[in-house]
Amino acid sequence: MRDWRGSFMTLSVLLYDIQTFLIYKGILAVAVFGITLVVAMYSTYAERKVAAFLQDRIGPNRAGPFGILQPLADGVKMFMKEELIPGTSNKALFIIGPSLAMLTACMTGAVIPWGPSVTIAGEIYPLQITDVNIGILYLFGVVSLGVYGIMIGGWASNNKYSLLGAIRASSQMISYEVAMGISIIALVMCTGTLSLAEIVEQQKGWWNVVIQPVGFLIFLICAFAETNRAPFDLPECETELVGGYHTEYSSMKLGFYLFAEYINMFISSAIISTFYFGGYNMPFVDQLNLDSNVLAILGVVFLFAKIVFFIFLFMWVRWTIPRFRYDQLMNLGWKILIPLSLLNLLVTGVVMMWGEIIKLF
């Protein structure tokens, strides 16, 4: 009888814990989702501003001060546009396409550690929705799913330009995923973990970019290709394919595709910062003897500063470098990046196991 009562007590405590846990994670998930959408929204504004500034123009400045309300105006415009679904299209898939693109874009934010843990009333709250011990694998799985949104949309449009764009997108993303994966394997060999939280914790001293400069370069180039951004924006190459996979799309379904691209850009920037640039870490901050909660907030700020820098880099490159030709794209992917990443993998392995190798001789 006493045992039963005891176990009931622990059960109620457990239930209470689960409740707070769920509420906390729910709030965090909604916050990450909201921040992702807002950042993506303002990326569209930033893109137009950066493009304008790089071309000696001013950019949008009519909606609100400095055009700050431009994304809202764009959103309203997108929603108000007439919704066209081609008569010959596969209607169900036509709708699933952009939804899937948006869904996969939003899913990746779950495993990224946005900051150090916050301690409130003795309880530790990590600023990461879930620290999966196979975080990197999860990321890759979701990123690979992203191609389905484009492929399904292009296929369902029943239009040759859409289909060509979709084929280009899928072959491009599959090609560059190989090099990206191998460059990540080298990183995983160095860190010895697949958990993103641990990777960030390990970068308190040296950032991984110092240990894996070539891997970083490969990863960066592949990230550009994966997000379908210039100079790898062949799937939506206007000069050849009208609009690529979203030729037939209009209204908010088109908006979803465009928006997914900006979310992908944000998430890619976050992943690059996390993998190679210390995530929420900043050198010498630990020596300031700050409160751990202040450090957590500072960490979030540092991470977002890095993310903003990389988003800017994405735009900067887009408005500088012209688009690849398709054979050049494939040559770069298969003949340069994959061998280079394999070499990087080999060198990393040799350096790590140097002591063992010496013993053999």
């Binding site: 500034f53 000696d56 001013i58 900067w316 500088t320 470098i321």
Partner: protein
């Protein structure tokens, strides 16, 4: 190509440096409705039909402007001045109807050169953008300057122009001789 050139990365970096320099350059945009580009002093814009000092219309409907017009944008119907209308029209004959098709006009200024009565001038005013073609055929209601709101055309009357106007008959004879 050398190995460094084959890598492309140095070229990409130098390209990005160039675009980054442009990031801080002075913007060339002119914010149109608030800011306007400076016009030439003798800009040829919307026409005006001048009145004399007393406020009477100078145009005598001779039709020289319509003849001079290379785009054939000017149409007019002449009428005879009735007694008692001396304060309205300077000469015995006047233009009852005077229309310029602003879509046809090429703003060459030949009409003002042809005019023997100093009645038509091009001004630095811009022609409005309108929705229908009909609206852009300007009649006397728009072209004739209001008595209380005279249009300044002194900019078009530079010393060179004045000199030319003084010996206008020679100019006309020249073109006449060529034909």
């Amino acid at each position: 190509m050398t190995l460094v050139e084959k890598l492309y990365l140095p070229a990409i970096f130098s390209g990005m440096l160039i675009t980054f320099k442009h990031f801080f350059k002075k913007k060339v945009t002119i914010q149109y409705p608030e800011q306007t580009r400076e016009f030439s002093k003798i800009y040829r814009g919307q026409h005006v039909l001048k009145r004399d000092e007393a406020g009477a219309e100078r145009c005598t409907a001779c039709g020289l402007c319509a003849v001079a017009c290379p785009a054939e944008a000017i149409t007019m119907i002449a009428a005879e001045r009735e007694p008692g209308e001396e304060h309205l029209y300077r000469e015995e004959k006047y233009a009852a109807k005077y229309e310029i098709n602003m879509l046809r006009c090429i703003y060459c200024g030949d009409c003002e050169e042809a005019c023997p009565k100093e009645a038509i001038f091009l001004t630095d005013r811009k022609v409005d953008s309108l929705y229908t073609r009909g609206e852009l055929v300007y009649g006397k209601d728009i072209l004739v300057e209001p008595v209380d709101k005279r249009v300044d055309v002194t900019k078009r009357e530079t010393s060179k122009v004045a000199e030319f106007k003084a010996h206008k008959e020679f100019a006309h004879n020249k073109t006449f001789d060529k034909k």
